[in-house]
Amino acid sequence: MPTVVKKEPTLSPEIEADLRESLKRCSPGTMEAVLSYRNTGDTRAIPAVVMGIIERFLEPENRPKLKHAGNDVLLVEDLGLDSLLMVEIIILVEETLDISIPNEEMRELRTVNDLKEFIDCKVKGIKPPYKPRHLSVQDIAAFMPHQDPFLFVQEATLYEDECEGLYEIRGDEFFLEGHFKGKPIFPASLMIEALGQLAVLQLLKSKRPEIENLIDPQKVYFASCDGVRCHKVCVPGDSLTLKTKLKRIRFPLASFEGRIMAGSEKVAFAEDITLAFDYAK
């Protein structure tokens, strides 16, 4: 990975004076680091810039945490930053490093290291690593067309091209009363349904370039399913880990591979689950 990026060789005295003014509440090392980067393009100076700017916006009692807690310190929970302070930090980073950061890219940044790494990638013009994104049951219910009592994804984590979901079999699901009477077993057909739902979730949240427009959540349907194998019977109390992996998107179809685990045991596998979708008008 390169450590030096191409920059204008020297800052004009005017820009330097503006930068000094903007950074006057940061530690002196921050300005030195900015000058080093802006004058030589040496990206090794960037962590010091980011740390100096974060520190400047912290309440005094939270500053030692930044110094001592290391890279995994959480921006919101540990350092007390809120979303507006994050905006102020980003604005100052943009100004000092002469870069531009779109709002939506900031949302997944949770730790100091996330932020440093993200800005480092921005400066070098490379794609920042994908940050897994967790969705709670409320998040999921807010956008999914499926709803209780027919929603079989209780939590989900989105990875770049994979998605992991969770469903705990409670025992009071309406269909368990008859499947089977006196001996509740989670239906295999609903396992495929659960994987289908997770695939819908992944498709709706996907940022793949093949998706050219906003997908209408009311227009995603099950199209086909191939190569299904079931390995284990699941009963109330079992916790199902659902996984989908994107294979291909070509409008109006999206294909996934799916698997279900209960702990370390294989429960079910589907070679191909294909959804048909349409864009919102």
Partner: protein
């Protein structure tokens, strides 16, 4: 009916940043007007203003400000403030302490907050200028919330963790009178037990100068004479910034917690001129009706009123209209209530003028004097028959009216009564 009493006061004003200093300056009729440094240059049509002392809020970056070290606040709070937000925070901190309220007594479902501020045009201007220069996505996300009219609510509800009702009032120079009047209603209607009422204004160069464009400000270069309500040679008003906070409580609740009670807020009334966007009704019809409405609401006769703190801002039209209204309400036999305008001392606080003057009435009632109308050399003949008090009288008024009038002919009269004991 539930009674409303005043149990706390806080002051960040040109005549003092604590109650004792304000009280002394009020009694001695010492003004807070000065040759305002930013006005001392060519082409400035006004020379005087009445800025708060011990604060420096000149920078547009709140982190550069200087203010008395007794006021502590989180950076997060400070960064979201325009100057009047800082003054309001300090005044409210003082009032809460003065009333002896705990954090729980401030932050609960039965305690609300009413505020009045016209916003900070200077702060707004700074942020908008930056927006057009560097682009909207590189502007402080707090620029707008710190400078628009509602800013006091936003910041004080958050920093004092207010959970009861909250609202801001915008009726120009009657704003904080409305804030207090409707706070009274909240308590009387049993919606809240306690109300914090705060008025504040920036009072910087940008918030003052447009009034010069309206020909409303005194061009005087003499701070000792610039603001002289009811003088026949008055030539306009002087602007002051700052903040006053007043704590109102239901009487029984205040007594139960052993609060010191300054006075009773008996009630209030309001009426409008229905006349002109800025010029007062020539015979003060609205302010006359406001006084009548207030007296009717509280069931007090005109004879029982001892003192009227007039709105009289030292403008030709304003003082004239109010003098006529006062004559219509109290007669012209020199036996009416003592009348003075304390704007001679403080200048005109605009949105926070009404609560500033109400607080001065409360001090006067509580400390046993009636403040005079300072700086009058020749009383305007139009006031003939009115009892314009020229010097402080060492006697506490029992019943006090405090008048405020704003643009659009919005008039509020608050009625205070000495609290027995």
């Amino acid at each position: 009916m539930r009674k409303v009493v005043v149990t706390g006061l806080g002051f960040i004003t040109c005549i003092g940043n604590d109650q004792a200093t304000v009280s002394e300056n009020l009694r001695e009729l010492r003004h807070g007007i000065e040759l305002y440094p930013p006005f001392q240059k060519e082409g400035m049509p006004v020379k005087v203003a009445a800025p708060v002392k011990e604060f420096n809020t000149e920078s547009k970056n709140p982190e550069d400000w200087n203010f008395p070290s007794q006021y502590k606040m989180r950076l997060e709070t400070l960064r979201g403030l325009a100057p009047q937000g800082l003054y309001a925070y300090c005044a409210l901190t003082q009032a809460v302490e003065d009333a002896g309220l705990s954090e729980e007594e401030v932050s609960n479902l039965q305690t609300g907050l009413h505020t009045a501020s016209a916003g900070s045009p200077g702060t707004m201007y700074h942020h908008l200028k930056r927006m057009f220069k560097v682009g909207v996505m590189r502007c402080s996300p707090m620029g707008m919330v710190s400078s628009i009219a509602g800013t006091l609510n936003f910041s004080l509800v958050a920093s004092f963790k207010i959970k009861g009702s909250s609202a801001g009032f915008v009726s120009a120079c009657a704003s904080s009178g409305h804030a207090m009047g409707f706070a009274y209603d909240e308590i009387v209607l049993n919606r809240q037990d306690r109300m914090l009422v705060v008025g504040a204004e920036d009072g910087d160069i940008v918030s003052i100068l447009p009034f010069a464009g309206m020909r409303a400000l005194s061009p005087s270069e003499d701070p000792d004479k610039a603001s002289r309500p009811f003088d026949k040679d008055r030539d306009g008003f002087v602007v002051t910034g700052g903040s006053v906070a007043v704590i109102l409580e239901e009487e029984g609740i205040a007594r139960k917690r052993g609060a010191r009670i300054y006075s009773e807020l008996l009630g209030w009334g309001q009426a409008s001129d229905g006349h002109h966007v800025v010029i007062p009704h020539p015979e003060g019809a609205g302010v006359e009706a406001a006084m009548h409405n207030a007296l009717k609401a509280v069931g007090v006769s005109t004879e029982a009123v001892d003192y009227v703190n007039a709105h009289a801002p030292s403008t030709w039209h304003g003082d004239l209209a109010e003098a006529i209204a006062l004559k219509n309400v109290f007669g012209v036999n020199n036996n009416g209530p003592a009348i003075s305008s304390t704007k001679a001392l403080t200048g005109h606080g605009l949105s926070f003028g009404s609560i500033l003057e109400a607080s001065l009435c409360i001090i006067a009632i509580n400390e046993g004097f009636t403040p005079g109308s300072a700086h009058i050399e020749t009383t305007d003949p139009v006031t003939k028959g009115l009892n314009i008090l020229l010097e402080t009288r060492e006697k506490a008024p029992e019943i006090v009216l405090s008048n405020s009038s704003g643009f659009g002919g919005s008039n509020v009269t608050l009625v205070f009564k000495k609290y027995p004991g």
